[in-house]
Amino acid sequence: MPDTASEARNRLIRRVVLDTCIAAAVVIGMGVMRGVYSNELMLFNFVVFLALAQGLNIIYGFTGYLPFGYVGFYGAGAYGFSLVVMHLHVPAMVGMAAAAGAALVLAVILLPLLRLSGAYFAIASMAAAQAVYEIVANPDLENITKGPYGVSLSDVFAPAFSYYTALAILAGTLLLVVWLRNSRFGMSLQAIRDDSVSAAMAGVSVVRGRTIAWLLSALVAGLVGGVFAWHISVFYPDTAFDLSVSIFSTVFLLFGGATTLCGPLLGVFILYGIYNVIGIAVPQYFQFTYGALIVLLVLFLPNGLVSLLTSRGIRVP
């Protein structure tokens, strides 16, 4: 059956509506949960990882770059927020702007890393995140960052407000992914990922596309880091630059399936759900189970859960 432009347009509209509904359901669901379930921090962590996995999806799913040091932007956001709030005594929302700014500045500084391929990029970005951590946590900078002694932001502590801000960030991130999945720009990013030379031959500016995706991805992590700092209000640099933030986000993303909207959502809900249930009950075997899961996943389901459907030709939102 030939496929015509009008059919394509109708299909696109249906997809956008469906995707947006899924995004809305997740955001509203997480909002309602706060009224139902009282362990707010667990819910908050869910929101954090939902947003981070999607933020990572923007750069990995759509361009194929996997930054192991994704936590660097998260940490930059957390400290961007904390520094302006501590030193300038501004309201939290100004702090959020600073969080976004800090992550973007770091992303711009790290732009040259995009020249590297695959594993080199992954490792270099991890080294970059570590380097930022070493700088932030250095006692020589105690007057500015509090060095290794940690940050306390009790002035702006506001659990409810910060929770809903995190939800808003999640909503924005999900809409961003919906847009990428259904827009020409998102398509061009996938084209770059599939074959950057061909993409250039389709008139796509490879450098521009990658740069925008990189900045968007960093922006998400920075905002999430900022709202994390706000919500938790007392933390050490080890917390803000904890490598397991990167690792969890990556595993969730890969488990569900990158480039889709549902994949990372499934990954977080299933794996982080298991983590919180089993992790609490039988912790000593959890790390092992998690490690084994990763190994099996890479070997037997490298494109994630959604590939069970997509490999049968079924489109997953």
């Binding site: 695959g118 080199y120 992954a122 490792i123 270099a124 070493e134 092992f288 490690g291 990763i294 070997l299």
Partner: protein, 291 residues
């Protein structure tokens, strides 16, 4: 202070050559990054500790035993995981994730079995007190470890350039596909290289208590970052370049400790990024940049 730092750096760096050597061999032959390398190193250290505390075995004897056992462990690990991994679309990237998973498993098993406390071997086993090298006082254990590293580099060189299997290994390093096409048993060659790599990590682990103070189940990640920095600086995929990488790392670390000590941990990270950006092919190597 300057000469002291440089001399100590060279000797210390030689140990890091041993740490990175196996990682680089695996990358060269299989184009995969073994993020569990540091954990195999940790297991080597645990093995030496166990052999000493249970049977009173001297670490130098343990080192030989570790080589044999770890090669034998490496072979099945290779066959279980790597061939399937190499068939995937982006094996280089997926290897990072897969071996990270393996690293988590090893750390978990070790923690469950042995607890999280520090373990070490008595320093006297490798001789107490300093040795004077070019006017610099260095621990005897450092000299031993550097010597072991030197021997390891020599043996790897002899293996690669003086044995038939080594020649085949180099052929696989140049092009896996062409080697396959010429009828080389690529999997066997790679499995041996993997086994050797694990054994090298194990030997580095045996000396770790003397260089790094102690062994803990969670030490792997930090070792990996440093080892990766060392092999990137010294040219990825070229095991002998690791010699240079280790020495550069060791000397710059000691200089940092001398003149800017609290910033010393920045070093491997900055070195890694700088080399990747300025000369991604490493000091000796070929291009790896994306078009």
């Amino acid at each position: 202070m300057l000469t002291g730092a440089i001399v100590a750096g060279v000797v210390f760096g030689l140990y890091y050559t041993l740490v990175g050597l196996g990682l680089n061999l695996v990358f060269g032959v299989m184009r995969i990054v073994n993020l569990a390398h540091g954990d195999f190193l940790m297991l080597g250290g645990i093995a030496a500790w166990w052999l000493f505390s249970s049977f009173g075995l001297h670490p130098l004897v343990s080192a030989l035993l570790v080589i044999v056992v770890f090669v034998l462990v490496g072979l099945p690990v290779y066959y279980l995981v790597v061939p399937r991994l190499l068939r995937s679309r982006d094996s280089e990237m997926l290897s990072l994730i897969l071996f990270f998973g393996l690293s988590q498993m090893i750390e978990a098993v070790t923690t469950i079995g042995l607890g999280a406390t520090e373990r070490s071997l008595p320093p006297r086993l490798l001789g107490v007190g300093p040795m004077i090298l070019l006017g610099t006082r260095l621990p005897k254990a450092w000299i031993f470890s550097a010597a072991a590293s030197g021997i390891a580099v020599l043996l790897v060189y002899l293996y690669l350039y003086r044995t038939r299997l080594g020649t085949l290994t180099r052929a696989v390093m140049v092009s896996r596909d062409e080697a396959l096409a010429t009828g080389i048993d690529v999997n066997f060659v790679s499995a041996v290289a993997f086994g050797i790599s694990i054994a090298l990590a194990g030997v580095a682990g045996v000396f770790a208590p003397f260089i790094l103070g102690s062994i803990t189940p969670n030490m792997g990640v930090a070792i990996n970052i440093t080892a990766f920095a060392v092999i990137v600086v010294g040219t990825l995929g070229n095991p002998l370049g690791t010699l240079l990488g280790g020495i550069i790392y060791g000397v710059s670390l000691m200089l940092m400790q001398t003149y800017l000590s609290s910033w010393a941990n920045l070093l491997p990270n900055l070195l890694l990024i700088a080399v990747l950006l300025v000369r991604p092919e490493g000091i000796l190597g070929r291009k790896v940049r994306r078009a």
